[in-house]
Assembly symmetry: C2
Amino acid sequence: MPDTATLTFHDKLVAARDAARGLVTITTAQKNAALQAIADGVRGGIERIVPANELDLANGRDSGMSLGLQDRLKLDQPRLEALAQAVEQIIALTDPVGQTVRGSVLPNGLSINQVRVPFGVIGAIYEARPNVTIDIAALALKSGNAAVLRGGSAAQHTNGVLVEIIQDALESAGLPRASVQTIDEFGRDGAKQLMRARGFVDVLIPRGSASLISTVVNESTVPVIETGAGVVHIFIDESADEQMAVDIVRNAKVQRPSVCNAVETVLVHRAAADRLLPGVLQALRESDVTVHGDEGVIQLFADAVPASDADWASEYLSLDLSVKLVDSIDEAMAHIRNYTTGHTESIITNDLHNAERFLAEVDAAVVMVNASTRFTDGGEFGFGAEVGISTQKLHARGPMGLAELTSTKWVVRGSGQVRS
Amino acid sequence: MPDTATLTFHDKLVAARDAARGLVTITTAQKNAALQAIADGVRGGIERIVPANELDLANGRDSGMSLGLQDRLKLDQPRLEALAQAVEQIIALTDPVGQTVRGSVLPNGLSINQVRVPFGVIGAIYEARPNVTIDIAALALKSGNAAVLRGGSAAQHTNGVLVEIIQDALESAGLPRASVQTIDEFGRDGAKQLMRARGFVDVLIPRGSASLISTVVNESTVPVIETGAGVVHIFIDESADEQMAVDIVRNAKVQRPSVCNAVETVLVHRAAADRLLPGVLQALRESDVTVHGDEGVIQLFADAVPASDADWASEYLSLDLSVKLVDSIDEAMAHIRNYTTGHTESIITNDLHNAERFLAEVDAAVVMVNASTRFTDGGEFGFGAEVGISTQKLHARGPMGLAELTSTKWVVRGSGQVRS
């Protein structure tokens, strides 16, 4: 059993590429057996995982890690059980590899089929969230890809043990240990090298803060799938139903404020403000939401605090909401154009013309009419898995399923055809 | 009529983004009217185009431009007519914008549809080929995108007149002039800025030499669609039919040697070399092909010149071919793995097991059995247009049609749904 932890960075990339070659042709049954072995390994590995995790936590406390980050870093028995179950859910997903996207027989008799194939090697760069180690490894494996993981020095001991457990599981299922590797031991330099590993890494997925994602996008020569921030807007149009406005805004803000599809700014048509705003803001107050309002909002709702320019660009991820009055759908769409992160934008309206204009003209991964922005989610969309939500326009946009972790190739079958 | 030629670089990017916003919602009829005006303008503009082109050609001759480059730069009446006809062919293509890729109604009644939308602004960087100016502008417009073109200083006068003609045509069709702009006047610095224009340019397409493409890939922070080189292989397996081998290799090498889907290396199973090689190489000799062979090839075919290591990595784009004997399909696939550019790889065989192994294990945009590699082409695949052949794995792989110049967005229609 070669110990991949003693390999150089270049050795690991070569090993990943070699492992990826073997993963292209394995069966779904083999992948699922490996995934089950990983789930079992996570459950059975608690006595190795928790001490390593406590070491990382102790180091984090010593270096002043915030309580929020400490919480994200922590793994205990219930969290490990949830991780194992998440892997088992991935077993239940359809294997995208081998699916035919489109195909035809050309007039000359050539059969051409575009089929899904693994990317090869997926790189992931994330921060102090050891659950991502298991998550990305399992999703990569199910889609036939090898994974090279950079999980951050703050979770290095935890990730080291998790990757060992994954590699033992892979080996027990007859798959190469190098199918999943960590490069945490190479520190920041390893992350930089990973971003430049063209020819070894086929696609790089950053998961984490806006600054991490921005660094990867700017420095990577490997193609990146950007899973970005959500400054999500809801526009309450003049004709909106009051109860619908209350229900959707409350749901979009309060149900889970810490996630990217939660609403951050509500725009309200001035002609409907008297009728609609008191009810909406009252409902938010009852849910402990702090409203950051422009002047018009503050006149209607004395509890609002004044919004600054920074509020309109804020992804609060908390029980805060910026609220602004606008004179028209055009002003609403102009505001959205200035501040959107291209994630999800929703209109509440009963006006067909305005609904269609909003859907057609607003440029975002998901545009909605009369629905809570919280529905932008792979699980809700029926993809089964939560691979992330892409805010870029190339390759994948919006909620990503396993299919978005594959490329395609054209398979051409002939009987001696030549071109005239 | 604002003269966009006097704008700053930043002004032009802003103008492109604004123009792109208007193009999202125009009808196919409007696009086609603008395209017809462009075709008419190219035909009618010969007296403005040719003098500008002759100025570029004179400058090229003075600065020692190669005869091949001078030929690619030159525009005359037959070439302008061909360009106008190419634009008219794009009119005939199906507009991809608005097509529904997939959609469903969720259990809660939400209707979700993934529809094709324009990227927004497409950037193109290419070299001394003014036909690309018309080509990319027309393809971008048909797919609803604005275009920012950097065509190189060697074609600057030609491109300047072509873009004026395009802009006049756009204006006559009621579309913004800034839908198509050139940034040639900003020189190399403009190309560099274009590669860094995140937030203004949604996707960048380099067209040209391997070094140009490599520069764009390495320096661009804007997502790139790489249309790359083709070191294309054919493996003649032990069981190959001799006549089929002769026909396919000759077609793949000789029919049009200067293009990326022409074969550059033929690998021959050693056990079939005596039976197959003389006929194949004789046919190539009759077509004036120079064979660069390894030792075994030279023993069988005295006219071959010795192949060096560099030959195996060469995209000759000429009547040269490297030929090598291999002991097995595994050796053939290992050679391909070392030298492939991921474009097209073909096997000639009558062995079902080997055919399926080759199709499954070789990693390229297009893999073939018993067919000429020259079929890797958007026109041959039935896409109608020649947008280019992508050799990357993200977003598009292989021949690209108009659909590959679009992104998607999810359109969600509800009636007040909230998430529980």
